[in-house]
């Protein structure tokens, strides 16, 4: 099945799937790879790894970029051998017109998919696909409490920030090795960016509107203006899970999360560690910071 690669959580997988394509949310390879984007000063390493990984997919029908960050928005300018779609995801959200723009962009994405060979889904097909994904997210959420036996010498941590590439996923093991336990994954690739459960009645009345509401209407993120909902979400989740420390993860040159570091630190009642990743260097260089942070928390 032809694949559509994307990275942003604001791209609804079920919208792509309902068109008959395989949505593949790339998070970057486990090891750095060369591709259309070279390494240079000022270039987001996550964006680079995303595009270079997409370039390796042999069944790729297109890449969906979003405007949620400057570098991803501009990345579409420099990818010239692959079909690309740039989806406008408004930064503002307090007006109905922002959501209307998001819905218009979903429809435009649909046209792009059709141009790439997809067929437009019927409303029944869309609803069926949405329900399937909703169930999968429900399962994911339920799995959150499976391993609930926190030993008393484990420190309860929250991750907050941008995405974690495959290469940097070793961070989880590093944290565990030094006595930490991730109780809340608020990274871009974690539970923070799961779309909200669908309202079944609204889903049947107007599936596209419900899809927009579950994604655009609920996912809190640093890029949104204002981004007060991110802090509201963090306050709720950190409070409910008795978090003892927060690790902010951000990629080199990511202004959006970098700028939040100072504010989150001031706002939190618990200590915070600011970790800058670059998707290429070994995470081992960050081990000392993680170790020291966890020792200080005990």
């Amino acid at each position: 099945m032809p694949t559509i690669a994307y990275s942003s959580p604001f791209v609804p997988a079920e919208w792509i799937a309902s068109h008959g394509f395989e949505p593949r949310r790339l998070r970057g390879p486990n090891a750095p790879i060369d591709g259309p984007i070279d390494s240079r000063v000022g270039l987001c390493p996550y964006m680079r790894s995303f595009i270079n990984e997409a370039g390796t997919l042999c069944d790729l029908a297109g890449i969906v970029f979003t405007t949620t960050c400057d570098q991803m928005r501009r990345a579409a300018d420099i990818v010239d051998n692959l079909p690309c779609f740039t989806m406008n995801v408004p930064a503002t959200w307090q007006n109905a017109s922002s959501q209307e723009l998001y819905i218009a962009e979903l429809k435009r994405l649909g046209v792009f998919l059709e141009t790439a060979g997809a067929k437009r889904p019927t409303e029944t097909e869309l609803v069926r696909t949405m329900l399937k994904y909703d169930e999968q997210r429900k399962t994911l959420r339920a799995a959150r409490g499976w391993n609930d036996s926190v030993s008393s010498d484990q420190t309860r941590l929250a991750l907050v920030g941008g995405p974690i590439s495959g290469h940097d996923a070793v961070l989880f093991k590093t944290i565990e090795r030094y006595g930490g336990r991730i109780e809340l994954d608020g990274s871009e690739t974690g539970e923070r960016t799961l779309a909200a459960p669908f309202n079944r009645r609204r889903l049947r009345d107007n599936p596209l509107l419900e899809l927009a509401d579950a994604y655009f209407g609920t996912i809190p993120d640093a890029f949104r203006r204002p981004n007060s909902e991110l802090y509201r979400w963090l306050a709720t989740e950190i409070g409910q899970r008795s978090i003892e420390g927060v690790i902010l993860i951000r990629y080199l040159w990511c202004d959006l999360w970098h700028a939040e570091a100072g504010r989150i630190r001031e706002w939190l009642d618990v200590p915070m560690l600011d970790l800058e990743l670059n998707a290429e260097d070994p995470v081992a260089r960050l081990e000392t910071k993680v170790q020291a942070f966890l020792e200080a928390l005990r």
Partner: protein
């Protein structure tokens, strides 16, 4: 008086001579050197045009803080308009008793005050370090309240803007400054079956995007009306657009004269300052028009008399992006080059606002013509077109340190321009103060000038 670039102390002597012969000055007049007492230390390292028109230009620029304070004292309301570079001020100045300014302008304070104001240190302390664009100085300016009065209303355009600015503005918001956010979507080309709208500057956008921006500007308009305590009618806005266009027309003529004249009639530094006046009129629309008109008269006279700077052999350079260090504009001329075309990220503030559509629609079209909200290819198209019109022989892409858009955009623009026009292109980075990098910056520019001269011989 033959055109000449002179140092600050020479201007003082010239000023005394002019005063002795009955120089008539506007209310903001005086010696440029008096601004040293405000801490504007960079002035001692700049070379200035020796015309009275340039004297007024500098004094007008350097007295904005006083104008804002006076406006507040007179009971006028201040609107801090962030990021959109030229759109919201047209709305604000269409209402009586509103004065709009760009807090973004603080990005020049570290240069002008040679880091003595400590604004970057304050930004550092708030977690906004040197990995961000120098516009982070704005945060320090808000904290110290020493460089402009805190505005009564603060707006900020977001969406397809640079992450640096959006992130810094959000930090400002998090410090307790309310911001009215409005959205400018990423401009795209209309699809085949979509309604297309031609924007100022010649680009096109889908009608749906123009509709959206118009609705966003309606929100801004309502907020401004509420602040002003009166509605903004279409006639008032048409008048505001006409006045904005009057400034833009004169600037357009000035730019054309400067870029096309056989001998450069106005230094790059003064032209850069003049172009900046289009954004928010330096907080006085009528005075701004007068300053630009005087500069135009002076420049026209020089062109008519064949007077100017350098000579007709000077290398003709097109400059992309504003410089955080004003002194670099002097360096261009030191290296034997003149500026023949600029794209400082605000061509939409220089192109005339349409007058054949309803005024709010016209402003929406203008906002969407912002070079920052489109693709690098769009920017490159405009740059290529202007290079051809102004006869530039090379392109300088001046990177803004830390700016999220520069890393990708610069290379993309360079590739397109070099391929399409077969011109030499260089990229340089200009920090707020470059004294330590002066030799390397100069070497790069001199090498470009050499290249241009060699190409002429072939």
């Amino acid at each position: 008086m033959p055109p000449k670039q002179i140092a600050l102390e020479e201007w003082d002597r010239l000023y005394d001579q002019l005063k002795a012969t009955g120089l008539s000055e506007p209310s903001y007049g005086g010696k440029i050197s008096r601004h040293l007492t405000d801490g504007d230390l960079r002035l001692t390292k700049l070379r200035f045009d020796n015309s009275i028109a340039a004297l007024n230009l500098w004094n007008f620029l350097l007295t904005e803080e006083e104008r804002l304070a006076n406006a507040r004292a007179e009971g006028k309301k201040l609107v801090g308009t962030m990021k959109d570079l030229g759109t919201v001020p047209v709305l604000a100045y269409s209402l009586p008793d509103l004065v709009a300014f760009y807090p973004d302008g603080a990005w020049w304070i570290p240069c002008v005050m040679e880091l003595s104001a400590g604004l970057l240190g304050i930004a550092d302390s708030l977690g906004i370090d040197e990995s961000f664009c120098p516009v982070r100085a704005m945060l320090g300016a808000f904290v110290t309240e020493a460089h402009f009065p805190l505005p009564d209303l603060l707006t900020c355009s977001v969406g397809a803007t640079c992450d640096d600015f959006s992130a810094i503005a959000q930090r400002l918001n998090g410090l307790g400054n309310p911001i009215l956010w409005w959205e400018i979507p990423h401009r795209r080309k209309p699809a085949e079956n979509e309604r297309a709208v031609v924007l100022p500057g010649g680009m096109t956008a889908p009608g749906i995007q123009v509709d959206f921006v118009e609705s966003e500007l309606e929100r801004i308009k309502k907020a401004l009306e509420s602040l002003a305590g009166q509605p903004l009618s279409d006639d008032m806005l048409r008048d505001g657009i006409a006045r904005a266009n009057a400034i833009r027309q004169r600037l357009s003529e000035l730019r054309s004269l400067v870029f096309k004249a056989p001998v450069c009639p106005l230094p790059a530094l003064e032209l850069l300052i003049a172009e900046m006046l289009a954004l928010h009129y330096c907080s006085d629309r009528d005075a701004s028009l007068q300053v630009i008109s005087d500069l135009l008269i002076e420049t026209r006279a020089r062109v008519d008399q064949g007077e100017g700077f350098l000579d007709a052999e000077a290398a003709r350079i097109f400059w992309v992006n504003p410089v955080a260090d004003l002194r670099v504009m002097n360096l261009v001329e030191d290296c034997g080059a003149r500026i023949c075309g600029t794209e400082h990220l605000f061509t939409h503030a220089l192109d005339e606002i349409p007058t054949d559509v309803p005024p709010m629609r016209a402003l929406a079209q203008m906002a969407l013509a912002d070079p920052m909200v489109g693709t690098a290819a769009d920017r490159a198209d405009r740059i290529c077109s202007d290079i051809t019109e102004f006869g530039a022989e090379a392109l300088v892409l001046s990177r803004i340190p830390g700016a999220s858009h520069c890393a990708l955009e610069g290379g993309a623009i360079a590739d397109i321009v070099a391929a399409r026009l077969d011109l030499p292109v260089i990229e340089i980075e200009v920090a707020p103060l470059n004294d330590a990098y002066w030799p390397s910056l100069g070497t790069g520019l001199r090498a470009l000038v050499e290249t241009i001269r060699q190409r002429r011989g072939k």
